[in-house]
């Protein structure tokens, strides 16, 4: 209590200094926001300490990478075919697959490619019936075709080791090759598999992180405008939480904690959870002001009273989140760490910086009002002077 009272006195005396330090820390941590990376290596999200997971890792190390790209080729439903008897086993398509295989094999990142053409093209078939004959001799090759022979698959393997840049480069390379080799008319393709799914998740992660923060920020800001019945007061309560989000994500960037499917929503969560500390501090300060107390006295009463209360509730929240670091799931461990960090920052900002922001905004408000009042008085005196003249 005494410590918080001392803090309140210090805050009042050195409000500009504290504000400038907060701005500098925010700028430094805001740079860290741009350093944040996305986690796309799903193997790093698997539980730790389980024998089966360790075995899977061992197999990946000993028997090569398991990153797979599957290219699915099928007849385009929107294409106007002259012939109704469509068969993906057509020698022209087999030849196309072989050419694509040759082109892809030129790339060092490709570890292996398997498609029906890998085997069938060895016999150089010239007609569909010849392909059918080959398949009758090697029935296991039928697994490359759908039951109605309208779709076929090509499997490409690589060891990308969960590297974000390698994964993007690999999927882009495949897209380039697909564009490079002229595809038979009426055939469309889809690319899937673990590597393209990683890239898609990576893409969604970035969008989701921004989208959820923006939506949460707008709604919470509106809620604060309504509950505080003032735009300025709403901003006063909201600005410390925004700092909390920037500090948290910036620290993640510096500590190399990657944004994963688990931590993508932390911005929105911190905004939702951190708002209460700011609301309590601001409300209590206004209560003290309404009693007719000065800025200094209001701070000296509100900071110790609310500071001790929110420290208690904040610490329990941090403990709840830190408990996740004991989980066997690494992504839950990361979620626990980042949320605990976020709540810690929100608490710190609410107790040490928020009161300064409240007082400075109040001063600013007073300054603007005074200026407007002076201008108004000046105009009134000018009007009355002209009236007199």
């Amino acid at each position: 209590m005494n410590f918080l009272k001392f803090i309140a006195k210090y805050q009042y005396k050195h409000k500009m200094l504290i504000f400038i330090i907060a701005v500098i820390i925010t700028i430094i941590l805001a740079i860290g926001v741009f350093r944040i990376e996305m986690e796309t290596d799903f193997s790093k999200m698997n539980p730790t300490g389980l024998e089966i997971v360790e075995l899977n890792d061992k197999i990946t190390t000993e028997f090569g990478g398991t990153d797979i790209v599957i290219i699915l080729f099928r007849f385009d439903n929107n294409y106007n075919f002259k012939n109704d008897n469509l068969d993906i086993r057509d020698p022209e398509i087999i030849s196309y697959l072989k050419n694509l295989e040759i082109e892809l094999n030129k790339e060092s990142s490709v570890e292996g490619i398997i498609s029906p053409a890998t085997y069938i093209s060895n016999f150089n078939p010239q007609s569909l019936s010849q392909v059918k004959y080959i398949l009758s001799q090697y029935p296991e090759l039928n697994s490359f075709f759908s039951k109605d022979f309208t779709t076929t698959l090509m499997y490409i393997t690589a060891d990308l080791s969960g590297d974000q840049e390698k994964t993007i480069a690999f999927t882009e390379m495949i897209s380039e090759k697909l564009k490079f080799i002229p595809i038979p008319q009426g055939i469309e393709y889809f690319v899937t598999g673990s590597a393209p799914i990683s890239v898609t998740i990576l893409d969604i992660l970035g969008k989701d992180a921004v989208k959820t923060i923006v939506i949460a920020a707008i709604i919470i800001l509106l809620l604060l405008f309504i509950t505080e019945r003032s735009v300025l007061k709403g901003i006063v309560v909201f600005s410390p939480i925004l700092l909390g989000v920037i500090w948290t994500i910036g620290t993640m960037g510096y500590l190399n904690i990657k944004l994963s499917v688990a931590t993508v929503g932390i911005g929105a969560m911190i905004l939702g959870l951190g708002v209460e500390y700011g609301v309590f501090m601001h409300t209590r300060y206004l209560e003290e002001k309404e009693k007719g107390l000065s800025q200094k006295e209001s701070l000296e009463n509100s900071v110790p009273a609310i500071g001790s209360a929110i420290l208690g509730s904040g610490i329990t929240t941090i403990i709840g989140f830190l408990a996740l670091t004991l989980s066997i799931m690494p992504m839950l461990q990361d979620l626990g760490k980042t949320l605990a960090l976020g709540i810690f920052f929100c608490l710190f900002i609410a107790v040490f910086i928020s009161p300064v922001i409240i007082v400075l905004f109040e001063d600013l408000d007073k300054f603007i009002l005074n200026k407007m009042y002076k201008r108004y008085n000046k105009k009134i005196s000018q009007i009355s002077k002209s009236d007199l003249q």
Partner: protein, 416 residues
């Protein structure tokens, strides 16, 4: 004016509710217990399952569409593996030391035949059947021949490790297999492995992502329990620090008999322990609700218990702190509770709504995991809020009455 009357109406509603809780705590407890019983029934219906990462992406993405086509049009794309390795613990004895050992190959051959006979298995790619393919259908007769054939064929080489201490058997699954049968499949494979006598010094395991899912599912419950236990113990200590430790120092500074001091300290425990009801009941209601709406807990949402505890306890703490403050104003127990609830419900509802907004924003993302986590957290925070304004105040009123009764009677007896 209109706004003021609205505010007054809301205050009146809250005050009426506060009066019910303060004056009829047993009635409130009865209602709460009915909901607890219903929730406990549905808690048993919550299922725990691990989640495939491809399931997290919305269906409108091409990568997911293509996956769907493959699943619909092709034979089952799922695979599982059997991993064989030389057990290093036996390295100094006379056990097998090389995967190319004829004894090992014969074992793999028998295992392959048994595997091929299983209903869930479409195709088996093992060292033995690959060697048979290139050796006119026969197994090689010596380690030397095995080594020769392996070194000649790249495809077979991919089935053994570079130091020849490990080998894998790749198994393609048939249409009989579906995602809900992963435990059954793994059980079947383990039974086959146990049923065939394997060479000493050889260790055999079923692996691959499909084999991992049942293991992870089994770990989900204990993992949730572990993080939940840590959370509740940590929160308990903080509550003791807030409500009990400070009080002890005050009590011991007062000039009272030791007996009175002990009674007072025991009394403070009621404030330290009651907030825990918020999270205990809140969690039961949340999981009961999850069971009711048939929403399962996945490997990635299993952290919600400790998160809900950390967030939900705030409501309980606020109610208890305010009740204690009101009691210090020398009000009656009922009046203190009416004042407490009238003053805490609205700010608690505001902070709960702000938290719900944050969680709702999470479910507006495209990744389903984030949305599911947000949804479960929303339910958790809402139910903790309700627990903090129902069971917590009702228990506080009853405990305060009991404590008052005990204090009067025990002190009276002592004085007599």
């Amino acid at each position: 004016m209109k706004e003021d009357s609205k505010k007054n109406n809301l205050k009146k509603i809250i005050e009426s509710y506060a009066k019910i809780v303060a004056n009829r705590p047993f009635f409130v407890l009865f209602i709460v217990f009915i909901f607890i019983l219903i929730a406990l029934y549905f808690v048993t219906q919550v299922n725990y399952s691990s989640q495939d990462f491809s399931e997290m992406i919305p269906d409108n993405y091409d990568v997911v569409k293509a996956y769907g086509i493959i699943e619909d049009s092709f034979k089952n794309p799922n695979t599982i593996m059997i991993f064989l390795q030389i057990d290093r613990e036996y390295i100094t004895s006379n056990e097998v030391k090389d995967i190319r050992d004829l004894e090992v190959l014969k074992y793999i051959d028998v295992l392959t035949k048994y595997l091929e006979g299983n209903e869930f298995i479409e195709n088996v790619n093992s060292l033995s059947n690959s060697l048979r393919k290139i050796n006119n259908g026969y197994l090689p007769k010596s380690k030397y021949q095995i080594s020769d054939l392996i070194s000649e064929n790249e495809e077979i080489k991919s089935l053994v490790s570079d130091d020849y201490t490990m080998s894998i058997i790749n198994i393609s699954l048939s249409d009989q297999y579906s995602d809900d049968k992963d435990s059954l499949l793994v059980d079947n494979l383990e039974k086959i492995i146990i049923g065939i006598k394997h060479p000493s010094g050889l260790k055999i395991n079923v692996t691959g992502s499909i084999a991992s899912y049942p293991v992870m599912d089994k770990e989900l419950g204990p993992d949730m329990q572990k993080t939940g236990n840590f959370s509740i113990i940590g929160i308990f200590f903080v509550l003791i620090m807030i409500f009990v430790i400070g009080e002890i120092s005050i009590v011991f500074r007062q000039k009272q008999s030791l007996f009175s001091k002990i009674i007072k300290i025991i009394g403070t425990l009621r404030f330290g322990l009651t907030p825990l009801l918020t999270i205990l009941i809140g969690i039961v209601w949340t999981f009961g609700f999850l069971g009711l709406i048939k929403m399962g807990v996945t490997s990635v949402t299993s952290g919600v218990v400790s998160m809900i505890m950390g967030i939900g306890i705030d409501f309980g703490i606020q109610t208890v702190i305010r009740f204690r403050q009101e009691l210090k104003n020398k009000l009656s127990i009922e009046k203190a509770m009416i004042n407490t609830l009238t003053n805490v419900i609205l700010p608690m509802a505001t902070t709960a709504i702000a938290a719900l907004i944050g969680f709702k924003a999470m479910s507006m993302g495209e990744l389903s995991f984030v949305g599911d986590l947000g949804k479960i957290m929303s339910y958790g925070v809402t139910f903790c809020f309700f627990a903090a304004i129902t069971i917590v105040p009702a228990i506080l009123v009853l405990l305060e009455k009991l404590f008052k009764f005990l204090r009067i009677n025990v002190l009276k007896e002592k004085n007599d």
